[in-house]
Symmetry: C2
Subunit: 260 residues, 2 copies
């Protein structure tokens, strides 16, 4: 028997990236997909197969799941498998992947500045938008909390949307945003992909309100960055592929009555 | 003039830690304070002076704030200043500080596992608890969204609290939790401090419901860990000091009617 070729011995970093997320919807899995797509790094996506995807998520979120010898259990998808490692929580997955695929610095202050921007967009804009159609309980149908949803959406459109757009514009106006349309430094980072997806989902869920923000002229940097990401060759190809899910249920839903 | 003594030239890691947070309430600043207190690492806390604290937070959160040459602007406190670096977002501050003060590994999988556990507790249990008294809008008084608060609290107590306690217990039951009462590995990490504060705040806001969880016997590991943190010498001293704020407004509020 010949010795194994050292080049073929897989190190952790050579292990395949495997995304575990709900099938059908874009959801939070989309933030992870965009990073791999922009970087041109191969990844498997269990959500490509509805049955396999559902089973993988059910097994992940089962209350019998107490992890394994390498990893604590996850509460919710998305999760990412990379060799023996299994991690969850969107900003945590991005923190792990982005420096490995060239979309974030590997060390130094930029690690924490990018994580801060991403946490603010995800924990703020994305989570609050979700709660506009589920203000009372995630276990209730939208129809059973519609009145509260209308009330919450009114405040969201009037107060919270401008607050988050203003924040993103301020980050772009900061000296740390450098040359080009990007949030941090002189080149695209994973924070720009997070902004793109957060704005894209907001456009879908609250089209009139997002258009009004655009027309105000106060957030030109945000919309310019949105366009710049959309036109990236790899992102553009991805958005036209069937790997990109259509919006339907999940975080970003379109209920016209919530904009009235 | 004599040359400066090289030992006195401050490197970034020697710079003082300065916490910026609202005065009076414990709030999210508490997660950061507990890390410094347990580690016995000096930090300044602008909230110690009400006027200075209010001014620091107002300046941080001003929409005119576009950061400085080293840092992008923050959206909200807590923020941490360390030399030239200024960072915000609670889990981000903890990610930065904990390995520097010996409460988290500096590299490897543990970095991501701990960040995952902390994000799940903060983004889940803590944020959802906050929303029980502000389900419609943060800009409205509680009294103006009391009916919705009651409705949301019912679901929170019945569905969400047990979900998060079960998650924390599962992490403790995992092989990665090691010897001792700790969430991850064989010794205390910053995740244990986060669990302590999250449970302590929950006990204050929903005392009957937390007592019922304790009596069920299903989450013994969680309550054992809570006690183990509370009894740590540095934490015990801190909790008895006037540096520890009393609960009042903020995330953790006690409205008896929300438990009825």
């Amino acid at each position: 028997m010949s010795q194994p070729d050292p080049k073929r011995v897989k190190t952790d970093d050579d292990a395949p990236y495997e995304l575990i997320y709900w099938p059908v919807i874009p959801g939070r899995g989309e933030f992870v997909r965009l990073v791999f797509e922009e970087a041109g790094v191969p990844y498997s996506d269990v959500a490509q197969n509805i049955e396999k995807g559902m089973n993988a998520v059910k097994s992940l979120t089962s209350t019998d799941n107490i992890g394994n010898e390498h990893n604590p259990p996850a509460l919710a998808p998305p999760a990412l498998k990379h060799g023996d490692l299994l991690i969850s929580q969107t900003p945590n997955i991005l923190l792990y992947v982005a420096p490995r695929v060239g979309l974030a610095p590997k060390e130094g202050n930029g690690v924490y500045h990018l994580n801060e921007i991403v946490l603010t967009i995800l924990d703020g804009l994305v989570n609050e938008l979700h709660d506009t159609h589920h203000p009372i309980a995630i276990s209730l149908y939208y129809e059973d909390q519609k009145e509260e949803s209308k009330k919450k959406s009114g405040y969201f459109i009037k107060e919270r949307l401008p607050k988050y757009f203003k924040y993103m514009q301020r980050v772009l106006d900061a000296k740390t945003s450098g040359e080009g349309p990007w949030l941090y430094g002189d080149s695209l980072t994973y924070a720009d992909l997070v902004l793109f997806q957060a704005v894209d989902g907001t456009k879908y869920a609250f089209p009139k309100s997002t258009e009004a923000l655009k027309k105000s002229g106060e957030y030109d940097g945000v919309f310019k960055l949105y366009d710049a990401v959309k036109e990236r060759p790899n992102i553009s190809k991805y958005l036209q592929s069937d790997r990109r899910r259509k919006y339907s249920e999940g975080i970003w839903r379109y209920y016209p009555e919530l904009e009235e």
